[in-house]
Amino acid sequence: MIWETVRLAIQAIFRNALRSILTVLGIVIGVAAVIAMVTVGQGSSDQVTADVEKLGTNVLMVLPGAGRMGPGNNSVSAALEMRDIKALIDQLSSVRTAAPYNQTTLNAVYGTEDTRTSVAGTDARYLDVVDWPVVLGRSFLPTEENSGRAVCIIGETVRQELFGNTNPVGETVRLKNVACDVIGLLEAKGASSFGTDQDDIVLMPIKAFQRRVTGSTDISMIYVAASESVSTDRAVVDIEMLMRERRRIGDGEEDDFNVRDMKQLASMLTGITNVLTGLLSAVAAVSLLVGGIGIMNIMLVSVTERTREIGIRLAVGATANQVLLQFLVEAIVLSMIGGIVGILLGLGLAAVAANIMVIPFSPNPAIVAIAFLFSAAVGVIFGYFPARRAARMDPIEALRHQ
């Protein structure tokens, strides 16, 4: 009997194809939105994790300034120095290597082309820490690092902006008022998990950067690669102890620097992504609710329109419960069809978005199952009232209805 009812429901749905499509549109959009949100959110979470793994989980950053990450930190603390880097490498076995990293934003000019880009002062060890190969030309030589000569290695985006596809090595780029010889091109990395273009960068030796760009000898950040043989947690503790000693911080006083580990950063980013995904999904879920109300609306119209049909069914011996079941099943089948279409549409949208955003396409079977069950539940909840109205019809009135 139930299979028969489902068959009848499908018949009734296809008999009024246009109305059925309009009815389920709300469900389709709601489910598609939830599925797309969650799938894209999952994809960007996965991307963050993958990025961090690619960058190396053994990468640490040392920054001046106390406290946690985030705004509201106004305490002035001493900058880092080149000597700190030397001490970290020389004195700690848990540190494999380290590099300074100062960054600013400048216009880079070549001929008539110009582009606004990130300019960082660092040294050859940075490329080692973050495992970033130079694909054309070469890295910095020790002599260049020591002499403060203005040379630079550029990222793929900067090359495209200034040189197109031609070889930039040997050309001269002007940064602010510094003429800088291009000695290398970095491998293309794509967007970071922050969404910023990692290839939009110009690297200079730290000394040249300090002298010619910022005019100060401060180091604003140190990149550290922990030794493969020790845990990063161990390395963090070692670095903190050494830095406290070097900066003469007494017992009980708070650090005026902090050491960040990429895993922390990753979990923070994943956390943000999850909160955003949750919020957007909640909004999408509201549209599912609206879709459900749409189903109820149309089912009520349908019940009124089919009054005569209901009268006929009652006259030929349908019980009120059979009529109730028929309309209820119709609403459920309708919203489940909406759910399936919505799932397919949502996955499709997520796949396209993943492709555009260059993140992995990570469909979550659990969410798909939940969305499907939810759409069926919408059918039950919002189909019940119209179905009950159909079942309670007076057959005489119903048959007289024109």
Binding site: I312, A315, V316, A318
Partner: protein, 242 residues
């Protein structure tokens, strides 16, 4: 159930719609019995209560006072579901406007009562084809109502009434929408079902010619049975009296 138990036994049945000023006595103390195998025509002017009586007999309505016994069973004591089961198993309806489901083949229309009976598909199909054959629509099983003439649509409706093997067929102005030739064909079909299948038939009509097919004519006025007898008795009296 003894053979002499009437199929229909209305005892002092009154049906009142509305209250106070708007009160309408659609049936006012109706006594009426119909024996198994009878073919009865229910007649009377508009508003005489014949449609209300028909709904009452069809277990679609219940009396305000008085009793209705169907095969000796008090219908008034049955709940909605039990009345639906009674309609399903003992009654067949034929309406003036055919009341077929639109965009649904003749076969599916005829199968409808059997679906509610819970018959398996193969059996349903067999019985529905059989019923369509009996009403002379073999070969039209897959036509939609819109592809059939009025006479053919009414035949489909009769097949639908017939398919559940009912004891009683209730026909409410079955020829009201048909021309004379089709009307006579439908009446011949009903007459044949009455004679061959021993189905009791109660028919509402306002056409004398159609009432002539019935064994007995019941003439209602103002919610009461005014006369009951053979066609000639009733109509000769009508002509003399009014």
């Amino acid at each position: 159930m003894a053979d002499d138990t009437p199929v229909i036994d209305l005892r002092d049945v009154t049906k009142i719609y509305g209250h106070g000023e708007a009160e309408v006595r659609a049936m006012d103390g109706v006594n009426l019995t119909v024996a198994p195998g009878e073919f009865v025509a229910l007649m009377g002017p508009s508003g005489s209560g014949k449609s209300t009586a028909m709904n009452m007999i069809g277990c679609l309505d219940s009396p305000t006072s008085g009793d209705y016994l169907f095969n000796g069973v008090h219908v008034g004591a049955l709940d909605q579901t039990q009345r639906a089961l009674l309609r399903r198993n003992y009654l067949g309806f034929v309406f003036q406007g055919f009341n077929l489901l639109a965009r649904t083949s003749a076969l599916d229309n005829v199968e409808l009562p059997l679906i509610y009976k819970g018959l398996p598909a193969a059996e349903r199909r067999e019985q529905a084809l059989d019923a369509l054959d009996k009403v002379g629509l073999k070969g039209r099983e897959h036509h939609d109502p819109s592809e059939l003439s009025g006479g053919q649509q009414q035949r489909v409706a009769i097949a639908r009434a017939l398919v559940g093997d009912p004891q009683l067929i209730l026909a409410d102005e079955p020829t009201g929408n048909l021309d004379t030739k089709r009307s006579l064909e439908i009446m011949e079909l009903l007459d044949k079902l009455n004679a061959d299948e021993k189905i009791t038939i109660v028919m509402v009509t306002h056409e004398e010619d159609m009432a002539a097919f019935a064994h007995r004519v019941i003439w209602m006025v103002d919610g009461r049975v005014e006369r009951s007898g053979s066609h000639d008795e009733v109509f000769n009296h009508e002509r003399r009296g009014s």
